[in-house]
Amino acid sequence: MTDTVQADRQADFERTIERHDRIEPRDWMPEKYRATVVRQVAQHAHSEIIGMQPEGNWLTRAPSLRRKAILLAKVQDEAGHGLYLYSACETLGVTRGELTQKLIDGRQKYSSIFNYPALSYADVGTIGWLVDGAAICNQVPLCRTSYGPYGRAMIRICKEESFHQRQGFELLMTMMSGTDEQRAMVQESVDRFWWPALMMFGPPDAESPNTAQSMAWGIKRDTNDDLRQKFVDMSVPQARALGVTLPDPDLAWNEERGHHDFGQPDWHEFAAVVAGSGPCNAQRIAHRKRAHDEGAWVREAATAFAAKEA
């Protein structure tokens, strides 16, 4: 490739980004842009897939047929979200097999939140309310991300997430109108999930070195701290409606800023969970690997059958 062709392509790319237009799979793009989108979309896809585990664990022990049908539909949606995102990622020239292998080998990450256990059925409600709620906060702006296939996958996902959050909130409301013991279960669950939910937005902006470049390229649309603030502001009135206390003594409305002040999550804990020593990291990956290994004969049989039919 001559230098002028290269310069033309670079300029084309930059103009597209400046117009807030989308980059499509076969367009020229800087290698670093490609790598950044692959990393973010892969991590996002892995989160959807691993995210099935904490709740999937409760499927056989749902308290009623109604709750079981709802949870089954929700977990199935998360599998779907993972598949939309894997196929978006594959448009950048990586293969599905590679992505699965990198997840299993720990070479690509998933959201730290799924390394916490779901200990009671109240957790199914709290995960829907706070974890899917935080995911929605993160995901809505990503519908306008600069990489076309990623944005289109996010639009489908956002349409489906709203049911996830509402079913969780409704579950908690039902428990809150029950016995004292049930109300205590909800509060205990919220106490455990509040801080990990705040960590879902990633480290503070000052310690997030990739944010500036990702925003300049339109891959990310908001900073971690802005999204975290938005989530806190949304959650406070919801907690009030529910009748639970958010476990943060520093949480208070700040008239001047027009936002809530709030405390910082334990960033040492966050770093430890990301590094692999959260409560469930090993279990999550071992489970994913087992599912992959135990499914091998099915994939092989389908391949053999297709070859025979061809």
Binding site: G97, R156, F305
Partner: protein, 96 residues
Amino acid sequence: MTVQPEWPLYEIFVRGKRGLNHVHVGSLHAADDEMALRHARDVYTRRNEGVSIWAVRADLIVASSPDEKDPLFAPAGDKVYRHPTFYAIPDDVPHM
């Protein structure tokens, strides 16, 4: 570690309702055509999003290249006479 050969990639198109075109919704892997349709139903139409699905092997699709977008589409750019607004017709001529 042996990486197994991947199932072929299919592009999926869904007709949202009668009277509309099939629209591209995404892609998936399947061992054969029948499995592609079944997977497409599960992945892309969990909420009545469609009344008909097309699954097309991605390697059978012929596409224009972004690099030839200028030579390919520029010739349409200067043919303004293909648009109705090119023609000045007095305002008092009805139904035109």
